[in-house]
Each structure stands twice: as structure tokens, then as C-alpha cells.
Subunit: 461 residues, 2 copies
């Protein structure tokens, strides 16, 4: 219960090293593909945030924000409410993760876009941040999220029960927001210390509204850390590495060397993976394999006798609801989603995950031909699946699916994400605004500010 | 990365049991001494919050709140700013812990008042809560803080590096705020689940402004948990006891039996201890012993040859700065504070912890006659100290001090705390308002609302 505010000597440890990197990274140091990926992430983040406009999560958070009130500094995506940057960070961050349709980075074991953009967007709107600085801030946040996430804390942190998106996410948000606020290296180090005292999020709350809340809280708390550091708040500048610090309390596999390996040279942002199916990521490899069975092998539904679907054993706990009754359960059903893929249904649309689809006789008939097999040859941390399909004529078709390799062709990735964006955004804001957003995000590095967001990424206005 | 919102059966585990107790506790069940203690806590909380008005912490938080804006729902103690209940919870909670002069409960290993009152006061002002309900909410929060703190999580949680005031404090704040919001048992259970996803605070940030921030964040996040639960948010209703839940991730000594032992019969609020010296709690037993040496044994400074001060060995790390140079360092110096006690200086006044006092020749001369000895016969978790004083005439005076036993005479406690309140509050709000506050808090259980706070506990108005 002691509070001793001794002056600390200039910090030179791991926390300071990562914070220095964060504060110093400039747009000119970013490789072209990293800039492209950042724009993909922003477009996709806007898509999944707009798509969640009617979610109860969104309505509850907006009601709460209206009750609290706040200066009109920042835009709530979709709704268009103007509120304080702190509340906008919480709402936009949480809503963007509500559908679990946002991007993933396995080098973090987490969701970089939902813990960065909402922390940055409010201050960027308020302060007139340029597109270049916005991109740089996102990459900074993502690098810090990955480096403090999987790299520093290891799988141990996640396996113990911590939700990396909430915990490491708070540092990522502090770094991203800190860039927008222009923190110098020492102030960024202090911001990381403040972030550590707020970092939280338990996987035991998966399956509840607290899961997306972890993202929103990371944004709000990370922004708070950056803002208060700028005001002169104090913290332990060695919070990651010190005795009883973030590492000491929350992992058995603290690896500082990995956290700084290739700092400034190797960009972990390159590990971004996007979701093209509106279901649990664990079902995506199977859906991809099913689509190839249909498109490349030309197998039609009436030819199929039965299907063995081999997946890593960990997927049995993650997404193997055998007979889903609701749309949400359908998202966590390997049999349902694979059946949808074999039937040629649109697995990217939110509407495909409905009671109607789950209980449709043709879908159930196909679903019941599928047997899910745990295959220990398949690694749990890889998003993979093997289909072994036996036709009624006795012939066998084998097809693997894998979705853990990032796309390297950036123009193909942009085009596929544009399609996803249009499909999700158009019903909410109309085709005209959707098209203009695609144009603006596509030219993000040449924009003077982010004002297009408040005009276009909202239902009215 | 899965989110599965299955309906949960009615929760019957530990989380639900504690939440049911919290939701059901009524004023009529509170023993008289518990009501008296609650009023002591509130008066003392107002005292230490007012006393921190000029702290940089206070100014920074108020500047941040003004930048964010918010509806005029709740009063910032001292300053008088009206802002949103969320921001008031953060500011009042943090500021009240800024001086580390607030109460302690060793049954929690934490500071119950700073994690409850700020979470309750805003909604109580807004909703017109009665004095009875306010007292009941405080006791509820304190019971939950103690039961989820030391009782459930054990010393292990604290020893690992967690700051109980921040972690268990978030549940305490949720319980206290939840009472003001009138949550039913099931909604309170959900609020605890939301609290768990925000519970944070590392002891490695002691000695920085993040230590008091843990209290403010607990208040803000606990209030948020209660508010969102009321709006229909969802969480895991077994978050304390489930696999990878709060206990599983953060203690090696999970003891559910202790957490529910005597629930509703034995009030842990009875363990409240108050600080009468504006220094680290570890110095208090020594100061008390020194005062008795002076008052009862009649030893004057010029009679003293030397002093051996025996303390538990753990105090060497906590508060044994040998030659303090600043007021803050003085608060963590057993030699300085004991010297002040032997000299008859006012150790309750903030002004006694100054560069001037620390460097005053008479104080230094007395300080240098004191030798601090680690005595393994004295237990670390007890706030005790033994003085063995040798006079210049060769005679020896022995005196023990102990401050770990709560005062049982409530009228003596109230009177001593009134003195402390007047000493701290009068310079900020004047004697007239201070006197009226004492009267109001003294009659708290008969007040219809808390409106006196916004009129009296502020500098202007």
C-alpha cells in the first residue's frame, strides 16, 4: 500500500525499446505492401462495423453514451452520433468486433484492427490527422500488438485464459492513439505503463457480449493511457519486464528476444488475415475446401454420398455444434458451414446464418452427410481442414483448405475486400456512399484528413 | 476467437451466491456498529478527497474530463465541476486515493472506501438515493471487496503482483453501484461477469500515479459493469469459479469457502482501519508507540540517548527510507516519522511531510538516534512496532505500538475522524461547510438524498 514516486533514471529496458520504436516509426519507413495492407484493414474494419449497426450491442452502447453525454468530437460509425473521443473509442471498438467478422493476426493471436482504429479515429477526426499519419499509427499499433502479444507473452498467456485482444490490445491501442497524439519516446513509454494497469480481458467471457467489449475497452483505455501520459501522468517505465510486471504476472513464456526481433525491419502487420465468411474463423478452411470441391472438382450436391471433414482436434471445442438451431449457432458449426459451401450458398452474407437456413431441409440433409473427424496430424494453431468426399458412384474426391497464409497479391486482396465491403456496407449506407468510401480509403495516403468518415460512414448526413 | 451465446441455465455457483447476497442485503439487516462504521468511512473519504484538491493528479483528471465533456449529473468533490457519472467515478475515485491517506481493510488487503463511494455517489446524486440506501450500498461493496479480495483470492493474488484495490475493487464497485441502480440478483451476477473482464491493476505501478488510478478505474469500470448489466449486456455468470475465470487466472489459493463463510451474518466491514497519520500505513504503529513514549512515559526529546525500533522484516522494503529528502520520501521513512512522533510534531497534517521538516536540524538529530531493526517475531501482515528507548540517564523505556485492531468504540472513532476531517477539509471549504458536512454524514441514515454533497463538499457554491 506504499506509493513512492522516486525519479526513475532514463528507461532503457524492453518497454522503452518497444515504445521508442512506436514513437519513431514514420510513414517513409513503411514498405508498399504494408501501406496496402493497412488500407485493406481500414476498409474491412469499416465494413464489419457498419454491418453490426442493428446489433443489440450497438444500441445499448449508444444509449449509455447518450446518457453520459460528451463533447461532439468523434463520429460513431453507422449511427453518426457525435460524442467524446473516449466514448467513440469504446463504442466503435466494441461494435467492430461484435460480429467476429474482422481481421485476425496469428502473430498476435488477436484482432489488430478492432483494437487500433477506434482508438485512433476520434483523435484523428478532432485533430485533423493526415491519411499518412493515420496509416502509420495503425501499423504502429499492430506491430506493438503482435510484439507484446504472441511474440513477448507467447501462447502461454492465451492458454492461461487471457484474451490477447483485450490485454496486449490495450498496449496496441495506446501505441496507435499515442502516434495520433504525437507522443515522444519517453511519453510513449509512460503510456505503456498506464496501459498495463488497465490491460484485462478473460476468455471465460467468450460467447458473451464481453468478448467484443474487450476490444472496445482496449481502445478506450489505450487512448486514455496515451492522453494521460501526454498530460504528465506517471507510470513504471519498465512495466513489461520488471518484477511483478505485465510479463511476470501473466505468462510462463516471457520472450523479450522475440518481441524485438527484426524491430523496424520485419513488419508483423504482414500477417493480417481477413475473413470472407461470416462465421467462426475455425470453419473457414473447411468452407474454402468445400467451395473448391464444388467449383474446381465440379461436384454437385446430388452426387454426394458422404463427407469426412478432418480438422485439428482443438476445433471440436471451438466450432463443432452438430445441429445448430440459430444463426449464431450456425456460425460455430463445421457441419452446417461446410454444407453451405457444398451447396453453393453465400457464406459471406450475414443473412446466411439464420434459423431458416439452419433448419432448411436441403441444408440439414447435406449437413447430416458430413462427419467431423479430429485429426492430430493437423496443427491446432493452423486454420486447416481436409475434405474426403465419397460420391454416390463410389469415386472419392480429396481437397484440403487452408486459410492461415496471408494473401501476398495486394490488388487481389483489395478487390476481394471491396466486394465484402460493398456487400456489408451498401444495405446500411447505400451504394453511393459505399463507393465513395472505397475511393477514399484507396487513396488514404494522399488525404489531408479523415473528414470523409463523418460524411460517408454514417446512415444519415 | 469464438463467440457462442448459448443460454445459460440459472446460475447457482459462487459468483451467483455472492451476487445474490449483494442484491438482497437491506439496511434493516445492518448491525448498528456497521452503520456507524459506514458513516465514519464516508466522512473520512470526503476528508482525504478534499485534502488532495491541489494534487497534480486532480488537475490532470479534471482537464481531461473537461476536454471530453459530459452531462451535468455528478459532482467532482472539491472542484465542484458537474460531469457525467462515469467521469465523476474515475476522478473522485482516483483523487480519494491520491494521498494514500484513506482507510484500509486487511480482510480485503485493500482500500474499500476509494473503490465504492465514487462509484455510488454520481448515480446516487442523479437518482436521488436515500441515505439508508447509500449506507447499504457501501456496506455491500465493502463486503464484496473483502470476500472476493483476501477471502477468495488469498494473499497469493496480492503476492503475485496484483493490486487488490484495482482487481477485487472492480467487483466491489460493481456491487456498490449495482445497489444504487437497484439490480436484481441475476443482473448483479451479470455485472460481476462484466467486472471480471475489466479488473486490472499491477503493484509494479506503485510509486506512480497509476496506484491511485487503480481505485478510480475500479469505480468507473464497476459502475459501467452495473449500468450495462442493467441495459441487458451479457457475461459469464460463473466468472469467479469457472475454468480460466478470475480465480483460475490470478491466484494459487482460491478459497470459495472463505468467500462465503458467514455471509450475511459476519460483516467484514467491521475490519475497517483508519489512518491518523498522513504517511505510509507501515509507519503508523511506530508513530503511535512514539506518541505514547512522549505522552504516557513523559519522555522529552532532550532525555533521549538512542532508540531501537523493531518492525516486521517486510517493512524494510515498504517504508524504510533512511534519510528522506522530500515530503513524499518522509512518508515512507520509519526513522523520520518516529522522530516526528517523539518530538510531538503533528503527524496527521499533510504539511508535516515537507522538505523543511525532513531537513530540519532538530528532526535530523532525533532521526539519527533511531536504529530500525527487523524483528522476525513480528508478523508482516500485522501493523506493529516495538520501541526500546535508552535515556541519557541509562534507564530504558519499552513501548509497543499496534494499529491492526479496528476501534470498537464507535463514538470515540467518530470523534477522532471528525477531528481529522476538520483538519483536512477546513483549509479547502472553510469551517462552516465542514461543520455542516459532519452533521449531515452523522445523520446520513435519516437523509432523503445526498444533495448536501454538491452544496457543501465543494470549494464554491
Amino acid at each position: 500500500m506504499a506509493q513512492i514516486a522516486f525519479d526513475q533514471p532514463e528507461a532503457k529496458g524492453l518497454t522503452a525499446k518497444l515504445a521508442n520504436h512506436a514513437a519513431d516509426l514514420s510513414f517513409d519507413e513503411l514498405p508498399d505492401d504494408i501501406v496496402s495492407i493497412a488500407k485493406c484493414c481500414f476498409l474491412d474494419w469499416l465494413a464489419v462495423t457498419l454491418a453490426a449497426q442493428d446489433d443489440p450491442i450497438t444500441k445499448m452502447l449508444i444509449s449509455e453514451a447518450k446518457e453520459q453525454g460528451g463533447n461532439r468530437q468523434a463520429t460513431i460509425i453507422g449511427d453518426g452520433l457525435k460524442t467524446s473521443v473516449a466514448q467513440a473509442a469504446l463504442i466503435n471498438g466494441t461494435v467492430s468486433h461484435a460480429l467476429d467478422y474482422d481481421d485476425v493476426n496469428l502473430l498476435m493471436i488477436g484482432h489488430p484492427s478492432v483494437i487500433t482504429f477506434a482508438a485512433m479515429l476520434g483523435p484523428a477526426e478532432r485533430d485533423g490527422t493526415s491519411g499518412r499519419d493515420f496509416i502509420t499509427a495503425f501499423v504502429t499499433g499492430t506491430e506493438i500488438g503482435c510484439r507484446i502479444g504472441k511474440q513477448l507473452m507467447g501462447e502461454s498467456h492465451y492458454q492461461k485464459g487471457w484474451h490477447m485482444t483485450g490485454t496486449a490490445g490495450t498496449f496496441a491501442a495506446a501505441a496507435a492513439a499515442g502516434k495520433i497524439l504525437g507522443l515522444d519516446p519517453d511519453t510513449m513509454t509512460v503510456a505503456f505503463g498506464i496501459a498495463a494497469s488497465q490491460a484485462a480481458g478473460l476468455k471465460a467471457n467468450f460467447g458473451t457480449m464481453c468478448k467484443p467489449l474487450h476490444a472496445g475497452k482496449a481502445c478506450q483505455n489505450g487512448l486514455f493511457a496515451a492522453s494521460m501520459a501526454k498530460r504528465g501522468w506517471t507510470s513504471n517505465r519498465e512495466i513489461l519486464e520488471c518484477v511483478q510486471g505485465f510479463g511476470d504476472t501473466q505468462t510462463n513464456a516471457f520472450t523479450p528476444d522475440l518481441a524485438t526481433d527484426g524491430l523496424g525491419e520485419r513488419f508483423l502487420t504482414r500477417g493480417m488475415l481477413f475473413k470472407y465468411h461470416a462465421a467462426c474463423y475455425g470453419t473457414h478452411a473447411a468452407i474454402e475446401a468445400a467451395r473448391v470441391v464444388r467449383s474446381t472438382h465440379g461436384v454437385t450436391p446430388d452426387e454426394i454420398e458422404n463427407v469426412e471433414l478432418h480438422v485439428p482436434s482443438g476445433y471440436f471445442k471451438m466450432c463443432n455444434i452438430r445441429e445448430p438451431r440459430t444463426g449464431l449457432e450456425g456460425k460455430f458449426s463445421l457441419r452446417f458451414t461446410t454444407a453451405m459451401g457444398l451447396l453453393g450458398e453465400d457464406t459471406s452474407s450475414m443473412d446466411s446464418y439464420s434459423v431458416e437456413k439452419c433448419t432448411h431441409p436441403a441444408v440439414i440433409a447435406m449437413r447430416d452427410r458430413i462427419k467431423v473427424v479430429a485429426n492430430d496430424d493437423l496443427e491446432n494453431d493452423h486454420a486447416v481442414a481436409d475434405i474426403i468426399l465419397t460420391k454416390k458412384n463410389g469415386s472419392v474426391v480429396r481437397q484440403s483448405g487452408a486459410v492461415y497464409e496471408p494473401e501476398t497479391n495486394q490488388s487481389r486482396q483489395w478487390s476481394r475486400l471491396t466486394e465484402k465491403f460493398n456487400s456489408l456496407a451498401t444495405p446500411v449506407i447505400g451504394a453511393d456512399k459505399a463507393g465513395q468510401i472505397v475511393d477514399n480509403v484507396g487513396a488514404l495516403q494522399s488525404l489531408d484528413d479523415l473528414q470523409f468518415i463523418s460524411k460517408l460512414a454514417v446512415k444519415e448526413g
